[in-house]
């Protein structure tokens, strides 16, 4: 974590308030805290803010404010960030079919880390992960808390079509992929939970600060678990 946050211009219509350069829960807490603070204020010229692992990207209208003005207006907020209320107090139990067709890289990842596939599944499904950010693709959730013994370097060549619901590991991160899209990570499983649906309100089920726990299911249980997930979503939406 930096002693003082950095204000970095991202062109002439956005700036990044960067709190650190590592994946670190204390850094992410500051990002989320500033994001919530700004959501409850109205600073002229801000269009939208995008919380990420270690920085808050703020898009603004350069005809209304400037980099220098906005920086001046933001500085007072940084001294009084409330870190106690960044968690959403929402926890999701997410079923996962590990390995097989749903997780084609499970065996390789286990071998790379000198573990059995059962050990990988046990270690991956025992953690309460925190959603650190949503991004890259619609609803794609980056999760913090991966067991370090499962960290595996990303693939040299990304593959084009990771299926919706893919659970993957890339470097020291694990993620829940929401829609079909390219991925350079290792695909270890798949969930029937629909975290992103454009016509649903909310379209994106997870928010930064949510807790996610995975539990292993068999492929035969896909249908029944899928129904359980749909019911869970109905409850959450109401």
């Amino acid at each position: 974590m930096y002693a003082e946050p950095r204000f970095l211009p991202c062109g002439d219509s956005a700036l990044s308030v960067e709190f650190g350069d590592a994946i670190d829960e204390a850094v992410n807490a500051r990002v989320l805290s500033l994001d919530r603070k700004l959501n409850s204020q109205s600073i002229e010229g801000i269009i939208e803010a995008v919380p990420t692992y270690r920085s808050l990207l703020i898009h603004y209208d350069p005809f209304v404010t400037t980099f220098a003005n906005l920086k001046r207006e933001l500085i007072p907020y940084l001294g009084k960030l409330d870190l106690s209320r960044i968690d959403t107090n929402r926890a999701w139990s997410v079923p996962v079919v590990y390995g097989g067709e749903c997780g084609i890289d499970l065996e390789n990842l286990a071998a790379w880390n000198n573990l059995t596939t059962s050990e990988v599944i046990a270690r991956h499904s025992k953690v309460a992960y925190r959603v650190c950010m949503i991004g890259f693709m619609p609803g794609f959730a980056y999760l913090g808390g991966l067991d370090p013994s499962l960290a595996t370097p990303r693939r040299k060549q990304p593959r084009p079509d990771a299926p919706k619901g893919t659970i993957s590991i890339g470097g020291e991160q694990t993620a829940l992929q929401s829609v079909v899209g390219p991925s350079g990570w290792h695909w270890i499983g798949r969930t029937p939970l629909d975290v992103y649906a454009p016509d649903r309100n909310p379209m994106c089920l997870l928010d930064p600060g949510d807790i996610v726990r995975f539990y292993p299911i068999s492929i035969e249980a896909w249908q029944s678990e899928s129904e359980r997930c749909a019911a869970m979503i109905r409850d959450a939406v109401q």
Partner: protein, 341 residues
């Protein structure tokens, strides 16, 4: 109401100024690649500048009309435009009638054009925008690019005293264009000599250029501190340097976060010119400060777009707004108002 029947779709989609507020959920704004040309064609047809239009990529498009006459204008990349085989100018309003066919040629030295209609296209807002975003599942009336035999609805044209054209033609991309950039946010991931190299090289845009990203061919840029950063937010115009050392300029359909260092960001004032550079086109970059970039914007014609945005909400035509947008009511191809029932 009249209908447009797409007979040759090219690479086209419905776009407006974009969908904002959902980047925190990984939904990029999408929207017109060349927002200035969208503004221009919409102003010609008397629509608010951000009204949805058909964004037409470099390939040819043909459209047939079924129903009452409609009025349109096409702005953006240089290309041919004809109605029933008769060539008509870009940056000008035209009326096209039942059973007539509009043919839009390949882009010549550009990428994108905007086909705007008096009264706009019939579509529904989704989270504040009509822009197609296939991955996120947004788009109206279609959640995909246009295909042959698609039918779109457009209101019938009203009676105008005369057709309207732009006082000066679309500029289009210059050869060996210089595009201004603001260094950062991760310029400290590169040695000063690498930044010099980025700024002194004449780059070529790669053949793979698309709405997501334009790759730049040229020397590979070495990273000073490795190429993996902790993923952070991206903007339209972020210049990421991939693991291979190739710079990639992220655009309207980009991923909302990226894990490669960003050496620079395009200045908004040059964005429209950059996106019009065709594959294989040459481009050089010049660094300016964020203060300079913002001062340029404020003193440029782009400022008029703000005035225009307000003015164009008013019904009818606002002469001051038109004048400020460098448009004139040239009486070319005037029509008999009686032709409009």
């Amino acid at each position: 109401m009249s209908r447009l029947i797409i007979t040759a779709p090219g690479i086209a989609s419905i776009q407006d100024i974009g969908r904002f507020g959902l980047q925190r959920y990984g939904v990029a704004p999408a929207g017109a690649m060349d927002a200035g040309s969208l503004r221009r064609a919409n102003t010609l047809v008397g629509c608010p500048v951000g009204t949805p239009a058909i964004e037409i990529g470099p390939l040819p498009v043909s459209i047939e009309v079924a129903g009452p006459p409609i009025r349109f204008a096409l702005s953006g990349a240089p290309r041919t435009l004809s109605i029933d085989g008769e060539s008509v100018p870009l940056d000008q309003t035209h009326v096209i009638r039942d059973a007539q066919r509009m043919k839009i040629g390949s882009a010549r030295g550009g990428m994108f054009s905007y086909l705007c209609f008096e009264g706009g296209l019939v579509c529904e807002l989704q989270h504040g925008s009509n822009s197609l975003d296939e991955r996120a599942g947004f788009g109206s009336p279609l959640r995909r690019r246009l295909q042959a035999a698609d039918v779109l609805e457009v209101p019938a044209a009203t009676a105008w005293h005369s057709e309207r054209s732009a006082a000066s033609p679309s500029a289009g991309p210059a050869r060996r264009d210089v595009i201004r950039v603001i260094l950062g946010p991760q310029d400290d991931y590169f040695y000063p000599e690498t930044i010099d190299r980025f700024l002194t090289t004449t780059w070529r845009t790669a053949l793979s250029s698309n709405r997501m990203c334009y790759s730049l061919d040229g020397p590979l840029l070495a990273h000073a501190k490795g190429y993996n950063i902790v993923s952070d937010g991206t903007v339209k115009g972020s210049v990421q340097v991939a693991g291979s050392g190739q710079p990639l300029v992220l655009l309207a359909d980009r991923g909302t976060v990226g894990g490669y260092p960003k050496i620079a960001t395009l200045a908004s004032i040059d964005m429209d010119r950059f996106v019009q550079i065709p594959p294989g086109g040459e481009v050089r970059f010049k660094a300016i400060s964020v203060g300079e970039a913002q001062a340029l914007l404020r003193t440029s014609g782009a400022r008029d777009s703000i005035a225009l945005r307000e003015a164009s909400r008013l019904p009818g035509i606002n002469p001051a707004a038109l004048a400020s947008a460098n448009l004139a009511g040239l009486a070319t191809n005037a029509l008999d108002p009686a032709a409009f029932d």
